[in-house]
Structure formats: C-alpha cells, structure tokens
Amino acid sequence: MATRQTQLLARSLLTPAVGLLFIWMIVPLALTLYFSTLHYSLLDPGSESFVGLENFRYFLTDPAFLASLRNTLVLVGSVLALTILLGIPLALLMDQPVIGRNFVRLMVIAPFFVMPTVSALVWKNLLMHPVSGLFAWLAQLFHLTPIDWFNDVPLFAVILIVTWQWLPFATLILLTALQSLDEEQKEAAEMDGASAVSTFIYITLPHLARPITVVILIETIFLLTVFAEIFVTTGGGPGLQTTNIAFLIYSQALIQFDVGSASAGGLVAVVIANIVAFFLVRIVGRNLEA
C-alpha cells in the first residue's frame, strides 16, 4: 500500500533523530578514543603527545583501578541482590488483598522520585550521622554503640542509600508482572492441593523470571554509573573505599586533569557497560517480535 511518497516522508521524519543520536554517539566516543592515546594534561596544555597504549597500561595497572573495579562490582552486586530479595516479598505482599493498596503503593514508589543528591544527603545527615542521626539515637535506645556509617562501613552505607532508591523500581516492576499472572492458574493449583510454597516455586517464580531479568539488566546499567550519591557523601573515600569506576574517572579528569588516562578509563567503562547492554538488547529485541 505504501507509496513511494509516503516512504520518502517516513524516511525524512526519521532522519533527524537518527542523525542526532549518531553524532551524539560517535563524536564523543571517537574523541575519547583519540584522547586515550595521548599524553594530555589540562594542567600542562600544549604538551600533548602520542603515547599509544600507555594510558591504558597506566589505568589498568593503577591500584586505584582494581580497588574501584572491586567497589563497583560489590556495589552493583549488593544492590541487585538486596532489591530483588526484598522486592519479591514486597511485591507479593502488595499483590495480596490490602486495604488502601493504592496509598501503600504511593509510599513504596516515592523514593524513586527523589533526586539522588537529596536522598544521599538526607540519609547521610538526618539518618546516619554518628551522633545526631536517627539511627544513632535508635542504637542508644537499645544500648548499642552507634555506627559511624561513613567511616566504619562507608561502602555499605552507600549501598544502603542506593538500595533505598532502587527498591521501589524493582518492587513496582515485579508487582506489575504479578498482577498480569493468570489467577485461574493459581486457583487450579490450589484446588489440586498445592501448598502456598509450591504454588510460589512452580507458578509464580517462573512467571517472574523475565521481569527479574529485566530488573537486573536495567538496574545494572544505572548502577554501573552511580555518581551523585558518592559525590555528595564520601567523595570516594575514606581512601578509595567508596571510589567506583565512574567516580575514579571523574576524579582523574576533573580533579587531577589527566585527560589521557581518564579517557582510557572511560573506554574501559564503555566496554563493561556494553557487555551488559548486549544481553539487554537481545531480551528487549525478542520482546519486539512477540
């Protein structure tokens, strides 16, 4: 049915978006690649020189890289585990007949809409402050020693904050998936005498497999580049204890002004993110055909 004219129209409507995204993707990435082969410091302009893979060697063998890679993995892994393990029971609970469910939903989803700088500072000060924070007061009530969160367990403190931000997302997606689960299937299982536990294991959990995968992949993309939460709470410290790859690259670029090795680090981050993206694009793509 489509005439030549409509085809032409369709293409000209699509071109601006494709062109812009192409430029947005290719130009900065090419520049990053180019800078990564240079000795290039903003403190010493004019001294740029080609150094080949030297920056990569420097970045990858820097002890800070290994530490930040470890922190990144711990942060991403812990937040994923916590949001899924807490999100499943929470979604199951909210799928029960609950009076005022819509209101509970509003309360649960709220943290997701709080800007990262606000949630990090509110947690750091109002809740986690070792003397005047609410947690310190609660600890005293139970005659425990208050935890100095950002000195004793800094990475865990960041993990808690980020988990609080992402738990609503996981819960909401799992809840949406649960609500599309066929009730009759569950009822049939119950009629056949299946216990609640085996209904969960054999019917609910398989149904949740796909949404859980989606949650894991999407959260991973965002969690790999957690930045603001670290920026306003610990500044990567103490030492390197809360420096993740994103923060390490930021500090090399905008604090140490070492453009070359920050660019090399940026490419490493792109490679890591691409590995995740590969799987996500496949899953979403499969869905597109269905």
Binding site: L31, L93, P97, M115, L126, V232, A253, L280
Partner: protein, 276 residues
Amino acid sequence: MARMATTRRVVVSTAAAWLFGFLIFFPILWMVLASFKTELEAFAIPPSFLFFHWTTENYATVQERSDYFHHAMNSIIIAGGSTLIALLIAIPAAWSMAFSPTRRTKDILLWMLSTKMMPPVGVLVPIYLIYKSFGLLDSCIGLVLILCLGNLPIVIWMLFTYFKEIPRDILEAARMDGATIGRELVYVLTPMAIPGLASTLLLNLILAWNEAFWTLNLSTSNAAPLTTFIASYSSPEGLFWAKLSAASTLAIAPILVLGWFSQKQLVRGLTFGAVK
C-alpha cells in the same frame, strides 16, 4: 470458615503492607518534618517527632540566603526544555517507525536503545572539553542539549510503543470515508496519541529533573539546577539540617506529585516496553 480465613488474611496483609510502606517512605517524611524544625531541634537527641516548635522560617531563609527560585527556575528550564525538544525530534521518528516500518526498523530501534547504555562517564572528558571551548559550561543551553540527547532514546522508544498500539483499522476506515492526510492526523490520530504523549512527557520530565551526573559536572552556579544546588549542602562546614530539609522538600515535592501520577507509565517507559 473460608470467610474467616479471608478476613484474617486481609487484616494481616494490610497491616504488613502498611508497615513496610511506611518504613520505606519514612526518610522522606522525616526530612519533611525536619524542614519545619529549628536548626537546634533538627539536630537534637532525642529527636522530637511531632511536638516541636513548628516553623516555616527555614523555607524563607533558603530563599533569602541562596536564591532558591533561581535554581528552581533553572531546573524548570533544563527539564522542560530538554523534554520539549526531545519530543519534537522523537514524535516524527516514532511516528514514522510505527506507521511505515521497514525491514530495518527493528535494528534502528535497538541501536537507539544501545546509545542509552553508553555510560555518561565514558564521554565525560570530550563533552567537558567541547563545552569548555564553546563556552557552554555552566549554561542552561548546554544542559538542555545534553539531557535532551541523553533521554532521546527513551522518548522515542516510549512513543513508539504507544503509537504501535493505535489500531490501523481506524486509519483505513477514515481513509475509506475520504479523510485527507491532514484531517486524519488532526481528528483521528492526535486524540488517540495524546495519552501516550502525556505519559512520555511526564516520565521524561522526572528523569531530567533528577538527572545528577551531567548537571553536577557541567554546572556550578549560573545554570545550576536543584540537583547541584542541593549538593552544595554537602560541605561539612555548612551543615544546616533544617535548611537542607526545607530546600530538599521544595526540590522533590513537584516531581513526587508528577511521579505518583505516572507510576504505571514508569514501568513501561523504563523497561522499554518489556514489562507492561
């Protein structure tokens, strides 16, 4: 018997759901309460939950001392501007892919999605240097531009999944009745596309309002939106909890309301249609 069990189940699950919901919401509530306390009370141990001297002084101070509205205005310009421009570019693209798909449409969509997965930190250096040489650092235009490009893939994807759901039979029926393309667009397609457009707009406003990588790195004062403004409270010497809370409450209130309206679309938008 069955009835009894059901009632008990409702009571138990209601109590549990409210308890956990309240716990999750509590940090926000605690912040709002602190914003109405005096600095001393906000800091006090043991803390007072409701019986303190309620005051709105902090809200006034935040505006006087730090020109809150200037930053709020920046947030509105940056989030609103980037969303509108993204929509203008995305609507024709999504439209064309939904209504005259070609063999390559699927590949184009997936490629667009993959650009969203590029970590911003991977291009921080070149963007920073480009912005520096064009004088775009700490400018609203610069931030509008970068947030618009960053969110464009999500906008196109969301619009695409909504447009896709508009039944094509209706278009054909309109054509049979002799509607021209212009009439078709105004009277048939637009009304059906408005809900999808509205929710895309809302979700993107929220994402842009809360974006805190580019805004923190590319703005300092002039163009600083609320994310950057709030971050300035992180310095240890300037800890004013009540004022931090007041500024934060103002910063998140509008977006919280918008967010609550768009929670259904959120699932769909952020999972690129993979979970509905």
